[in-house]
Amino acid sequence: MIEAFQSLWPFTTRFLEVSTILLLAAMGELLTQRSGVINVGIEGLMLFGAATSFLTAQTFDAFAGFLAGTVVGAVFGLFHSILSVSLKVNQIVSGMGVWLFAMGFVTYWADRYTGPLRVSIPKIAGLTPAVFVALVILVALWFVLNRTHFGLKTRAVGENPAAAEVSGVNVVRIRYICTTVGAALCGFSGSVLLLSYLGAWSHLPTKGLGWLAFGLVMFSLWRPGILLAGSLAFGFVWQFAISPHTIFPGFPAPLPVNRMLPFLMTIVVLTIISTESFRKRWALMKPEALGQPYIKE
């Protein structure tokens, strides 16, 4: 028994890392969406976080790398806020702008340094400390959203900004904070991806994880608890697809089919929750003002 567990531990640490990456990005987007702003540029934020943290860590150390990645995420979150909240630009266009810019800029900036990280990342029992950080953030996120006045205001702004305004809530300020902090988490997620999981730079390393996180938020009914479950499930499937033989020696299905699984799962789940029976439940949980710019009359 213990041997089986021990042999599974490396796999477990890896899939927990993927789950952490997904969880961090999803938590960030959850906060943003709860305030009514949709940010489709998660993949881009993760790219920026990954590239920045990689280059910073190469020059300084791991901690600086993580910090830099988070800060870069925040910067682009602020950019998205300015565009979407203040300038009322279509939120999808703004998010895609950030994503495509990230794709281009990061390729140009970091691809010439393709290769492994020279610094080592500290680990606790084989797990990157980011896992614990993510769990702490999860609890904090839950607490802030449900038990603080700020969280209440945020949720109100995401549902009905006009009603919130009339109650004395500063809608613009709340949206700025949530979008920027949310993006910072996505940047942090990118750093974890690069520094802890991959350990090396390659061309566009995010491989769709950012979009998976986005899908996760949509069907998590915007609740941190379901988000945790979802990221664990998806992290497992993702890692399993990369190395199925650690769990099932002789696993027959070819590698590409496994790699497709997380994406297929997302479509299936999204469709199921959009059917009549679920739609009401989902529509109830969805922040009603999501994606709509708030225009003060």
């Binding site: 006045h149 700020f150 205001k153 949720r155 109100a156 006009a162 009603a163 919130a164 009339v166 004395g168």
Partner: protein, 515 residues
């Protein structure tokens, strides 16, 4: 001017507000509100109620005039100022977060709430408040689960919890069912007993005005007609004061023999967007050359009725017959092809697309049939000619047929919307608030055109809030109140105040309306 024992908690002197388009919304309005009284403000749509309310609550600034609270002059820059000075507003379109609980809604943005929500402490305070006024509400219920009356109660509690001494209520009874109204009136009485002043802004719900208020002020066209004690008035007198005796224009209604029945509505019922009953068991028929006028205040089901007849809203029961055929299940496109047309109550973004040319907008009623479309292609030459014809015939002021419709003024746009329908010579026109937002010239023009439909044998279903319009145009008048036709009357020797009283609910028999 300080008088500590002035019985007037709120005074308004010489309030004037003019809008950029030249409309004088408030014309030297003076008001006095006593402490602890329930003082209703009554008036038709367009009388200036909304403007007055918005100024009192800090959403608008007056051009002239002063507001005094407790004898002290106040100026509001935003609703927060008003809230801090003790004014609370209960909005008609509830400003509540439907997905949240009652408790969450009450504490949102409240200064006492602090950083971390101390649920127990705040809860106790709110429960105490409810006990004091005799309010019964489940603090943990989600707002979307509540009835309209309960939602209103939440808004009241929220305002009171923030320390409001004056409550402004915007159309408080407009969405309440009769049993809820009684409960609501009880609550109001309890509140006013605590020396809190209540100002309900009301349109037409005359029975409730009587039940609620101590005094009533009537507004008409931005002016105060009179202020009096409710006990000194009757429903009749109030209706008269609100509506005025004079008719504002004269039009010749051609005497045309009504043709055969083209539209028959039988026991039709439908729900509104909130999932409540909009109208129930409506039955009537429309004949060729007849103008059937549905008179009523918005919110009584007439718009949902118009939408159902056009096919935009599925009825839950009942049938619609067109020229003898059952069309209840038919969609909008099929009804358009049969000759049933619709003039919606709004223009940009509903009836026309602002960014598209006049030609493209005219095509909205022609794209599905010949001759403007042939074999799947649009004949733009013909379309342009048609548009020019409409522009000429309807005296539309426009840069040209290729101009974007957003460049036209409201009146000219409405002429286009009407024109594209009339040129087709349809069988039925459903005209929903056809003169809304138009100036006098455009109004008169549209009305004249609708009258001409009679000579063309078109059946017109007219929905309007303007009694003058209804009485001038209609052959048959059906006042609607709370989703039912009060009567269906021939427009012979009808008295305006009578009809006004009907749409105000004077004839509603509480309890028997919802059979």
């Amino acid at each position: 001017m300080r008088s500590a024992d002035s019985p007037n908690i709120l005074e308004v002197k010489g309030l004037v507000k003019t809008f950029p388009n030249g409309v004088v919304a408030l014309d030297h309005v003076d008001l006095e509100m006593k402490r602890g009284e329930i003082h209703a403000i009554l008036g038709e749509n367009g009388a200036g109620k909304t403007t007055l309310m918005n100024i009192l609550f800090g959403l608008l600034k007056p051009d002239e005039g002063e507001i005094y609270l407790n004898g002290e002059r106040v100026v509001f820059h935003s609703p927060i100022d008003a809230i801090n000075k003790g004014l609370g507003m209960v909005h008609q379109h509830r400003k509540l977060i439907s997905a949240h609980t009652v408790f969450d809604n009450i504490i949102l943005g409240h200064p006492r709430t602090g950083r971390i929500i101390e649920k127990n402490k705040l809860r106790a305070e709110i429960e105490e408040l409810c006990r004091r006024f005799g309010f019964k509400i489940d603090l943990d219920a989600r707002v979307w689960q509540l009835t309209a009356g309960e939602k209103q109660l939440v808004e009241i509690i929220r305002a009171l919890y923030r320390g409001a001494r004056i409550l402004i209520l915007d159309e408080p009874t407009s969405v309440l069912t009769p049993p809820e109204i009684d409960g609501f009136l009880q609550s109001l009485k309890a509140v006013s007993k605590s020396d809190i002043t209540l100002i309900p802004f009301v349109t037409h719900k005359l029975p409730e005005v009587f039940a609620i208020s101590d005094r009533v002020t009537i507004l008409r066209r931005g002016r105060v007609v009179k202020t009096l004690r409710t006990s000194d008035a009757t429903i009749r007198s109030l209706a008269e004061d609100m509506v005025g005796r004079e008719l504002t224009f004269e039009l010749e209604r051609p005497l045309v023999q009504m043709g055969k029945e083209i539209l028959k509505v039988e026991n039709l019922s439908a729900m509104n967007d909130k999932g409540l009953v909009a109208f129930k068991n409506i039955t009537f028929s429309l004949h060729e050359g007849e103008i059937f006028g549905i008179a009523g205040v918005t919110g009584n089901g007439q718009h949902e009725l118009a939408e159902s007849i056009f096919g935009l809203r599925k009825p839950v029961s009942g049938k619609i017959y067109f020229e003898g055929k059952d069309i209840t299940k038919h969609g909008v496109l099929e009804r358009l092809k049969m000759g049933i047309t619709y003039v919606p109550p709004e223009r940009l973004g509903v009836a026309v697309v602002g960014d598209l040319s006049l030609i493209d907008n005219v095509l909205l009623t022609y794209y599905f049939e010949k001759p403007l479309t042939k074999a799947g292609f649009i004949d733009y030459k013909l379309a342009k000619n048609l548009t020019e014809k409409i522009i000429a015939e309807f005296n539309i002021v426009a840069p040209g047929p290729g101009a974007k419709s957003a460049h036209l003024s409201g009146g000219n746009l409405q002429k286009l919307i009407l024109g594209r329908v009339l040129i087709k010579n349809p069988k039925v026109i459903i005209a929903n608030l056809p003169t809304q937002g138009l100036d006098i010239a455009a109004e008169t023009y549209v009305r004249r055109r609708l009258l001409e439909c009679k000579k063309m044998g078109i059946g017109v279903l007219l929905v309007s809030e303007n009694l003058d319009e209804i009485l001038q145009l209609s052959d048959t008048v059906a006042p609607i109140y709370e989703g039912q036709f009060v009567r269906i009357l021939n427009n012979v020797n009808l008295v305006k105040e009578e009809v006004g009283a009907m749409i105000a609910g004077a004839y509603s028999r509480r309890g028997t309306v919802y059979a």
